[in-house]
Symmetry: C2
Subunit: 326 residues, 2 copies
Amino acid sequence: MAKFDILGIGNAIVDVVARAEETFLSRHDMRKGGMALIDAAAAAALYGAMPPGEESSGGSAANTCAVAAALGARVAYLGKVADDQLGGVFRHDITAAGVHFPSAPLVGGASTARCLILVTPDGQRTMNTYLGACVSFGEADVDAALVAEAEVLYLEGYLFDPPAAQAAFRRAAAAAHAAGRRVALSLSDAFCVDRHRDAFRDLVRGEVDILFANEAEITSLYEANRFEDAMESVRGEVALAALTRSEAGSVILRGAETVEIVAAPARVVDTTGAGDAYAAGFLAGLVADKPLPVCGGLGSLAAAEVIGHYGARPEADLRALAAGLL
Amino acid sequence: MAKFDILGIGNAIVDVVARAEETFLSRHDMRKGGMALIDAAAAAALYGAMPPGEESSGGSAANTCAVAAALGARVAYLGKVADDQLGGVFRHDITAAGVHFPSAPLVGGASTARCLILVTPDGQRTMNTYLGACVSFGEADVDAALVAEAEVLYLEGYLFDPPAAQAAFRRAAAAAHAAGRRVALSLSDAFCVDRHRDAFRDLVRGEVDILFANEAEITSLYEANRFEDAMESVRGEVALAALTRSEAGSVILRGAETVEIVAAPARVVDTTGAGDAYAAGFLAGLVADKPLPVCGGLGSLAAAEVIGHYGARPEADLRALAAGLL
C-alpha cells in the first residue's frame, strides 16, 4: 500500500481576496474569470489600487490537497515558498490542513507568490498572479522517492508558467509511471492552455492518466467549437477525464463510458477554488475505490461548499458533509 | 471646521482567524471571549497548534476607523506596524478603507503585531495577541497638530498594555483638549480593565468625554455587581457613555438622559469587532450631528453587519445599509 493517496505539485501561492465592482476590472484591463501573470512592479501597483483584502493560502494544487485531506485522504504537497511571513502562512495552513509539506523555503530570493483576486458581485473571481519564489521550483525539488510513494501524482497546469517547473513536471510524471502510479493533470485555466497548448497536448496524450478540465479549458485544448467535440477528442486520449461545466454539473469519461453528474445546490459567493475542490472530491473518492458517480458527487459537494463563501479552502466539516458517500 | 472627524490611536494588528472547537480553548487554557497577551514564543507555539487561518487587518481602534470611514466619516489613524509583509498588509488595508495613516513603520525591531483568534461554533471569538512592533509606539508617535485637526480623538483601552503607549495616550488626550476637541475611550476588554483599573478610573474621571464599554467592562471598571449600579456610576463621571449589551442592545447615557437602543437583527457568525463597529457607527452619527437614538441605531447596524461574517471589517456597503439614517 502506498504511503500517500495523493501527491500534489503546484505553485505555492498566498491569495489576497478583495471584493470589487466590474468597473474596477475594466479600468485595469482584466479579463474577467481569468488568471493573468504579473511582475513584482505590476503586483505592487495593483495592490495599491485594490480595496482592502483578506489573505489566505491558495495555489490550485495546494487547494486540492487541502480539500482532499479534509475528506480523509493521505496527502503530500511540493511547492516553493520564500523564507518570509507569507511563506510561513502558507506552510502553517497546508500543514494544519493535514498535508505533508517537505519542500524547503527559498532563502534570499524572490518573495512568496501572491495572487491578487478580485471577486465581483456575481461571485466570479479574476486573478492576477505574481509568481515570486515559484519560479525557482525545478527538477531538484522533485523527490522521486516521495512520488513513488503516492497513489496519484496530481499536477496543476499553472506549473507550466514558470519555465523551470516544466522540467520538474516531466521528471515527476516519469517517476510516477516508473513506480506504477497514476498521473493526474488539471488544465487550470483556458488562457494558460492557450499559452502552452502544444506542450499540454503532448502531455495529455503521453503522460496523463486522469485529466481535469472545465468547458473553456477543454475546448481551448482541442481548439474545438463545441464541448461535445472536445469531449470525444479527450475520450480517445486519456483513460479517465472529468470535465466540469459550472452549474450544469460535470461529465466523467472512461473509455466508452459516460457518467453525467449534477451540480450540488450552492449559493455562489466566490467561485475561487471551485475546480480545485471538485478535483479533490473526485480523487478522494477514486483512491477510496468508489464508483465514478460517487467520485463525481464528492467533487460536486466539495465545490459547492467552497463557492458558498470567500476563499478557496473549506470552512465546513467536509467529512461530515460527505458522510453518506465516503 | 476640523480636517478629520475622527482620529483613532491603537495597537496596529493583523488578525489570524481560525475556526476551533471549545476543546481547543480548554486544551490551551484560554478564557473564552477574552483577549490574552502572549510573547513571541507563545505566539509561535500557538500558531503551530492552530487550524488553518485567514489573515486580515485588525486592531480595535483601526477597525473602528475603517468602519467609520465606510460610513462616510473623515478618519485618520496612528499605530505602529513593522517594515514587514504583514505591516504592508495592515497599511494597504487601512489606506484602501479610506483612512489617513501617516505613522512610519518600525525598522529593524519586532515584527508586526498579530492576534491569533479562535472562533468557536457559537460565534464567540477568543483572542491571543502578540504585540510585536506596537510596544514601540510612544509619545513621539503622537502628532499633536494632527490631534488638533480631528473633531474626536478615539483611544482604545488595549493601548494601556504596551507601557510606552500610556504616555502617548495622555499626550494625545491633552493635545485634544487643548484644541477644544473631545476624547473618546473604548474600554476594550474586561481583563484589560482588570489590569489597568486605577489608571482607567483616573482617565474616565479626568479626560474622557465619550466612553464606550460593554457590560463586563463597565461592571469591572466600577467593581459593580449589577449593570444598573455601574450605569449610575459612569453617568456621574462622563458626559456621554454608550454601553453595549450584545443581543440586549445598548444604553446611551447623557447627563440625566437615558436612551435605550435595540440590537439590529443578526445571524452570529463571528463576534470579532462587534464593539469596534458599534463605536464607529455611533461616532459617525455623532460627528454628523445626529440625535442619540440615530447614533445608537448606526452603531447597532454596523455591529450587526460585522458579526454576520468572519472578520472585523465590513463586507457589505455600509453607506447603502445606513442610507435612511445618515
